[in-house]
């Protein structure tokens, strides 16, 4: 059963001439690329190429010295993280940023905080609208728990979960915000083969079922070539390739970058 060709929409996010430096270190050097709706874009490149910094610029955690980020048609020089989250950008982190003091369920529920608005008064009484809101959101989170097949660890503090499961919970928290753009920072780092296959299935299902646009950073070439529609290659903070996985694989500059040919 081959899936029908995916309907790639128009431009969702446009990154123009972004340059970011920490003091003398130029992390990103004049990089531009676009992400279209319902697309899975992979950002690859050797360590220190500026991949994570790029994600941080997109969701406003770092403010680049030059360049702009246009998301859903609104051009921003300095993206505000809260505003980015409110307008549908969610992300996971390279080394897991879960809330250790809470259970899996609470962590994912926290992902929905933007959608929960009941004030202090109703919360204090735990009555009427506050309870109704909490139950409705709990039901949505249960869909995600069912989708990621983590029912059995629902009430376990995340600190006690194995690494692979923590990665899934973090993906669950990002999904809870029902994002239109999902940024994944090395979702499969440190996973064994089986866990990697599961995570690939989840990413494809998210893209397929919810239509979420996905931008992921990944080192495993097999994974990148399998699941991504387009690939952007960074090296020393510069964009050296941008195209379909096959085209990028044959691109000589990319091969040199990975084989470490001196610039």
């Amino acid at each position: 059963m081959n899936a029908p060709a995916k309907r790639i929409g128009d431009v969702l996010l446009k990154v123009e001439n972004i340059s970011l430096s920490f003091g003398a270190v130029k992390a990103i050097n004049d990089v531009s690329f676009e992400i279209n709706e319902h697309e899975i874009l992979a950002i690859i490149g050797p360590n220190g190429a500026g991949k994570s910094s790029m994600l941080n610029c997109i969701n406003g955690f770092y403010h680049p010295q030059e360049g702009t980020v246009t998301y859903k048609g609104i051009k921003r020089h300095d993206v505000d993280p809260h505003d980015a989250a409110a307008r549908g950008i969610a992300r996971t982190f390279q080394n897991i940023a879960l809330f250790k003091g809470m259970t899996t369920l609470d962590n994912i529920m926290t992902g929905r905080n933007l959608k929960m608005t009941r004030g202090l008064f109703w919360q204090a009484l735990w009555a009427g609208p506050a309870v109704a809101e909490e139950m409705a959101h709990r039901r949505k989170v249960e869909d995600i728990i069912d989708f990621l097949e983590i029912q059995s660890v629902r009430k376990v503090p995340v600190g006690r979960l194995p690494y692979g499961l923590q990665k899934r919970v973090e993906l669950g928290r990002a999904l809870a915000a029902e994002p239109t753009l999902l940024l994944l920072d090395e979702p499969m780092a440190g996973m064994n083969l089986e866990e990697k296959q599961d995570m690939c299935r989840f990413i494809l299902d998210v893209n397929d079922e919810f239509g979420t646009t996905i931008c992921l950073i990944e080192h495993d070439m097999g994974v990148v070539m399998d699941i991504s529609d387009r690939v952007v290659v960074l090296d020393y903070g510069r964009k050296i390739a941008d195209g379909t996985p096959d085209a990028v694989r044959k691109d000589q500059t990319v091969i040199d970058a990975y084989l470490g040919v001196q610039h």
Binding site: F61, A86, A90, K100, N113, R138
Partner: protein, 354 residues
């Protein structure tokens, strides 16, 4: 051992997320509350109520307030003594300057004032963290200690700075007997504990805990640090303010600023550390521990027949206090509440090992 959980299944989310999902817990807590309302006042001596139970309950309320800030939101505060003082003096001024106000309204207004000031002193927490924030709250502590001493308006121009609480009456009932005071304080404590439980299990509580665990990640998933921290400061100061008003009106009767000095802040901080950061039960356990220890130390030597001068007893108190703080931090950083929950866990899977 005492738990019979087989057959307790949940058919809707509300019962799944209630405060005490296990029937045995619900019944035992209900029993404790009913006993507190009926048996205790009947059996307890006036001395026990006045000098142990009432202060324990009031300090527990204050500890719940502080736990919101330190235990749930991760913002260290050394200024809780000052916020209690604000509650006390606000209540005093409302009572004297606006006659005829119902006592409960006075307490709520006192809490409100303290909450406003809390928000004011919460603002620095947006830029600074950890020990530096402790200093900002320390500034509040000294500022208000000085203010209630020097600015006469607050103390209604009383010469020595000490003020006397107005006669307490509520809905026509005068509250003078220890029993009446006990009922007032107990009912407020129960309501506060319930509100605290509700706030911490809803989305507000979760956003606090998110800020506490990893504020960078919290900000990125959309939690406004400003809203979360300031609401924590406000709620925390509100309850500490009410506790301060109760402490002044019900327990002390007449007081001066020294009653709410830096040692009070330390005492509250110790309560939630020993009791358990981030646990409502921990506040009660911590308050009980910090209240009962000095009394025990005073009685203990008499029990063993050795006479100690009051001075050495007070030094002894310091020493044992210090040792216990360190012991708890080493043995169980999450305090009595964690020991309590481990004990409960053991009972639930009895006879198997934990």
């Amino acid at each position: 051992m005492l738990y019979r959980e087989a057959g307790q299944f949940k058919t809707n989310y509300q019962s799944d997320q209630q405060v005490f999902p296990i029937t045995q817990d619900r019944w035992s807590v209900l029993a404790i509350v009913v006993a507190a309302f009926t048996l205790v006042p009947y059996f307890a001596s006036d001395y026990l109520i006045i000098s142990i139970l009432n202060p324990f309950l009031i300090l527990a309320i204050a500890a719940i307030g502080l736990n919101f800030l330190v235990g749930y939101c991760g913002q260290i505060s050394l200024g809780s003594g000052a916020f209690m003082a604000i509650g006390a003096y606000a209540a005093y001024n409302f009572a004297t300057r606006v006659p005829g106000l119902n006592l409960l309204i006075i307490f709520i207004l006192a809490g409100g004032t303290s909450a406003l000031v809390g928000i004011l002193f919460g603002i620095p927490s947006l830029r600074i963290k950890g020990f530096y924030l402790a200093v900002a709250t320390l500034a509040a502590q000294f500022l208000f200690e000085w203010m209630f001493l020097r600015v006469k308006w607050f103390t209604n121009y009383s010469p020595s700075g000490s003020v006397v609480a107005p006669p307490l009456e509520i809905f026509g009932l005068s509250i003078t007997t220890p029993g009446a005071k006990y009922y007032l304080v107990l009912s407020i404590a129960v309501v506060v504990a319930l509100i605290a439980k509700n706030l911490t299990r809803g989305h507000i509580g979760r956003s606090w805990m998110a800020i506490r665990d990893m504020d960078i990640a919290a900000e990125i998933i959309g939690i406004r640090p400003l809203q979360a921290k300031l609401s924590a400061f406000a709620v925390s100061s509100f309850f500490i303010g009410i506790a301060g008003a109760l402490w002044a009106f019900v327990f002390l009767g007449s007081w001066e600023p020294l009653a709410f000095d830096i040692n009070r802040s330390f005492q509250l901080l110790f309560m939630i550390i020993i009791g358990g950061l981030g646990s409502i039960l921990g506040c009660f356990l911590g308050a009980a521990f910090i209240m009962i220890l000095p009394i025990f130390l005073n009685q203990a030597p008499a029990l063993f027949g050795i006479r100690l001068s009051t001075e050495t007893v007070s030094h002894l108190e310091f020493i044992i206090f210090g040792v216990l703080i360190v012991f708890f931090l080493i043995a169980e950083p999450h305090g009595l509440a964690r020991l309590w929950s481990i004990g409960k866990e053991k009972l639930r899977i009895w006879p198997f090992p934990h």
